[in-house]
Symmetry: C2
Subunit: 673 residues, 2 copies
């Protein structure tokens, strides 16, 4: 829908009043609760009004319409813009009551936008720059979906509204470089160019030429007066015609209408006083009570909000007319369904692993599983931050995407871990794909703000994290995760899986695919591990998070709790201990959070009662007291790793069968003494 | 020293042979151990030889000479370049034996460079992009030191060698934007422009115009043939004359000389086979045994390495001739000394706090302490990632630096948390300052890779982390740290301090300033906390990490372990419990790692024996079992926070005096039942 077919006149009092409705609601909400960020909603109301009334394709009655345009408020602190728009556009779930209780517990008008399609919020934003990355991911997903299903079913734009903060963040450069590289022409960014950040004028901290910067990344750049609706509309119309992603710098006044604060850093995050709210309303010529939107303006907004229903109905008709297999595949992809019988693949791989057990790195076992899953699960796509041959994240047959080929299923993200994770979040949010991404576990640090958002947004993103501990060896401590184990496990709503060998890898992949509404970290070794599981198990033994891997030869005196590559260390220690007459059990704990969910009896039966409990994991000792108890022994690292060959390091840090057995014996002797 | 005064001829067989000495040593070392990254040392040997023999001001006999030029190998995987240079230049601590045991445990030639001045390694690198940030920090430190002490004492360049990986990382954009903004003209980056990354040609993942990108950020750009020593020398000479930071793209062939692998991704990280090593040596016309450097070439190198001793001696003479107070101040700053009597300031602040106790946010108490410390400690400098008025990290009287004024002591980093932390690392590594930086605790995620390096490099960087939990409230879960508490505490070699009120803030600042060889996180509240400590304590009660804050009225049944703002919650719960006849102790635990270092008796005396132990902290429950034991109670968050007013949230999550008391009573009832 272009500007000419709009039901709204772009100039004159009605436009201004529509934009001022956003402003008034924002002022009122923030004034009432006395917390929030007026700067952006007041400054960006005009550009948002142009976008939402003239361009954005959406239907508040069908908020999850798959072919809607996406809009991401990357500058998430301006959340009142979203809630004002949600209410004005006619999303039933966004009520005036929510706005009146903005930022209160239980209000749908939360402090920062949290993904909630029913009110038109596509992504959780606030941590700056994330929205840029997610918008790139959505635009990429659209392009890949369009390649698969044709433009009858998939043909939409992705818009993002960003501020100076988003553009200063490193992640925004990474993401825009990729968008330019891929030529994502249906990505349009509106830059709220108000020249102000929290510390003051942006000139305090930046003198970058934004135009040159974006052009260097292959973007189209325009600059307009952000308070001139016709200029903004013309710029968006032009941006829709470019063959590259576009950014439109909209020069605005932050906090427009607030006396004194307007145009200053104080407008960013300081709520207006009652007097300021009154003065602001007066400057908008808004002669209504707080939270009142006059009927004619509301009607204008609702008409604008309703206009997408025509497109939505036409799209629905096209979907209904599509051949059944295309429709089913499309709808299944959007719903995140896996093809029937996918578990059989896992089962077959497990049987293969059992019949021909191989000592190999778990990253390699994982690649074998992926090489079976990817052909069978068409929605599975993903890539690596330039560690493909190390992460083993790309089965041979999988082709990469490029600017000229969006039929591929592998993504070369470059050395951009942070944007990789945010883009993968955007792909997941868009729906239609089951996305994965890969890097060294240690460099999950670079992805952390985006990983956190995966968990907070309940998005199923698969993080393939290889080179999982000091056994990655000679690269040294810069590349050896230590504290990361605690970070992953302490992150709410996230599954962290660390399989011990090929069989557990297959089982963990099953758990990863089964996971709902949460990201998954698949933590894998660089180095070869022995195939410790013998024979095929129908049951997924990893499902309960921990299980007895090897029973003691007699009434157990010791329980060794271990994960990943250290399960084989524990088995070696058990052998030595048993030889010395110490009956020892070995427990494999591929997923602590799943284990924590089991009932107390199960947990006690696994952890062992009346035995010395010893954890063996070549990572931070932090957190293991929960499992070994106050009298247990924790074998791990209380410092960083070191550079050396894997065997040297395991010996140095006392994580060999011999060292574990010796530590256990010493403890037992001390206890008995 | 410019090219004309060089003892080396730039063209002809001697230059080539000198550069090939780097190549041969690198090939031999990587071939022998069969792990490492030959691509960079072989590709960048020419440019490095030009830089080290013609330009770099350094003295292997005085490796910590304060006015040496700094060189940072940001592309740290090319570590054999550093070790070859170290040996060839005559750093005694870098021996051929180290090179022969490259990447083995105990070798000084570690997998990636780890800061070690005695072998010429200025910074730990490997995690890509960090070196760019640290180099910017070093260049900034130089500029600020020069402002203070004059160019007689401080006048050096900072060089960084970066690869495509560094330049794709978001942190490099953030850091280069700041370097351009500040106009750091003595910063010169050599870009090893080989067009190859691990996944293949860089064209797989990028099509950015690097020249335009750097020019947009205010840098001077040159591009030369990186194997043409005269061209490289001319470019460096020109770069030294610009009024902006400079980058020189040196077009090189990765892995030059390795058959088949040369010019391909395989050269990056695959060690040469014996046959490839032989072929490579042949291509260098290097007719020597492995690890053999002929005497004439070694002599050339040693002569080049020794040439800085003249400059060093001249500098030393200038230092000796300087007036005593300047010299003492300069040397004290470099040594990281604090002015005598600084503890008296802490003591005076503590007394003020005790005499006029105020309920205030701990970030505000911290600002009060800083406002006393900064005038008294001239080396203290720092800034915020655009959250100055929220972090309260800038006492009023402190002026900011700018391109035109490097006498200031406050740094507006813009919304660039990651570069902020890396730059702060660079300032610390440079020496001369005690640097701090600030952001919301939740956004420590953006700084994580650099925070990790602070700890690994043992650098004293003060991280001021405000808005420390759900009490930051209405911004919602995107801004509320949860798992971060576990991350900080699990990070080796880092002090995490979370004071309960103004008195503890002052004490924690004392601990922060006393800390040696480690970074410190000062974790502070946004919200007001009661002044819970009464009276003045001569002793720093926080020093042992935890102490009994309030004894029980009778033999204790319960010990409440709490930190930060939750100490007052615990005190409220104690009151309620005591009223119900349950004698209750309250322990404040501002620093778990310091507490862990105390002897067993002290720890037992604090944690309490024969009492129910209950932790109260509005953050992840992960890790508290260590302190409460298997029968204890952990009150905290097992999920993310939520948007709401602080009181609403504490009530919602059950972290109020009433809720804590009720949970304790319920547990006691269960235990007794």
């Amino acid at each position: 829908m272009d500007a000419s077919s709009s039901p709204q006149a772009l100039i004159g009092p009605r436009f201004k009043r529509m934009a001022n409705a956003i402003r008034a609601l924002s002022v009122d909400a923030i004034n009432k609760i006395q917390t929030g960020h007026p700067g952006l909603p007041l400054g960006a109301a005009d550009m948002a009004t142009v976008l939402f009334t003239q361009f954005l394709k959406f239907d508040p009655k069908n908020p999850d319409w798959a072919d809607r345009d996406r809009f991401v408020l990357s500058a998430g602190h301006g959340s009142m813009l979203m809630y004002s728009l949600g209410y004005l556009n006619g999303y039933e779930a966004m009520t005036l009551d929510d706005i009146k209780t903005f930022r209160r517990l239980g209000s749908r008008a939360m402090g920062h936008p949290e993904v909630d399609l029913e009110i038109g919020v596509e992504a959780t934003t606030g941590p700056l720059g994330q929205g840029v990355g997610m918008a790139v991911g959505m635009a990429l997903a659209e392009r890949m979906m369009r390649e698969r299903y044709g433009s009858d079913l998939v043909d939409h734009y992705t818009y993002a509204l960003v501020g100076d903060g988003c553009l200063m963040e490193g992640i925004s450069y990474e993401a825009t470089a990729l968008a330019g590289h891929w030529g994502l022409d249906k990505l349009i960014v509106l830059f709220d160019d108000n020249g102000i950040s929290i510390d003051g004028p942006t000139s305090l901290a930046t003198s970058e030429n934004q135009q040159a910067r974006f052009e260097a990344a292959g973007w189209d750049w325009q600059a307009v007066d952000g308070h001139d609706p016709e200029a903004v509309a013309a710029a968006i119309a032009k941006a829709k015609t470019t063959s590259t992603p576009s950014i439109i710098a909209c020069k605005t006044t932050i906090g427009l209408g607030m006396p004194v604060k307007e145009g200053t850093a104080a407008a960013h995050g300081q709520p207006p006083t009652d007097a300021e709210a009154t003065a602001a309303r007066a400057s908008y010529e808004w002669d209504y009570a707080p939270f009142e939107v006059p009927e004619d303006i509301l009607a204008d907004w609702r008409a604008a909000g309703a206009r997408g229903s025509v497109d939505q109905a036409a799209w629905k008709a096209r979907l209904d007319a599509a051949d059944a297999s295309t429709r089913d595949e499309f709808l299944g992809a959007i719903a995140g369904e896996l093809p029937a019988g996918w578990q059989d693949i896992i089962d077959a791989v497990k049987r293969e692993f059992a019949e021909d057990p191989k000592d190999e790195p778990t990253r390699q076992s994982s690649q074998k599983v992926m090489s079976k899953l990817i052909p069978a699960i068409p929605t599975m796509i993903g890539g690596s931050a330039d560690l493909t041959p190390s992460n083993l994240s790309r089965p041979d047959a999988v082709r990469a995407i490029s600017r000229d080929n969006f039929a591929g299923r592998y993504i070369h993200f470059g050395i951009r871990e942070h944007a990789m994770a945010a883009i993968t979040n955007g792909i997941a949010l868009h729906k239609g794909f089951l996305p994965f991404c890969a890097t060294f576990m240690c460099f999950s640090d670079y992805c952390r703000p985006a990983i956190r958002l995966s968990a907070l947004m309940k998005q199923k993103v698969l993080y393939i994290m290889t080179h999982d501990t000091i056994t990655q060896g000679p690269d040294g401590p810069t590349h050896q995760p230590v504290e990361h184990f605690a970070t992953f496990r302490a992150t709410p709503n996230m599954l962290s899986l660390r399989p011990a060998d090929a069989a557990e890898v297959a089982e963990c992949w099953e758990l990863a695919l089964e996971a709902e509404d949460m990201p998954v970290a698949m933590i894998l070794t660089r180095e070869k591990v022995p195939a410790v599981r013998s024979g095929h198990s129908e049951e997924n033994l990893c499902r309960r998070g921990a299980y007895v891997f090897a029973e003691a030869s007699a009434k157990a005196e010791v329980t060794l709790l271990s994960t990943g590559s250290e399960v084989s260390v524990a088995l070696g220690a058990k052998k030595l201990l048993e030889e010395k007459g110490v009956p020892t059990r070995v427990v494999s704990m591929p997923c602590l959070s799943l284990f924590d969910k089991q009932d107390a009896d199960y947990r006690a039966s696994i952890l062992g009662t009346d035995t010395l409990r010893v954890s063996v994991e070549a990572a931070t000792v932090y957190g293991w007291e929960k499992y070994v108890g106050p009298d247990g022994l924790i074998i791990g690292l209380d410092g960083f790793g070191a550079a050396g060959m894997p065997d040297e390091l395991m010996e140095h840090f006392g994580i060999t069968p011999k060292a574990v057995a010796a530590a256990v014996e010493a403890r037992l002797a001390k206890t008995k003494a």
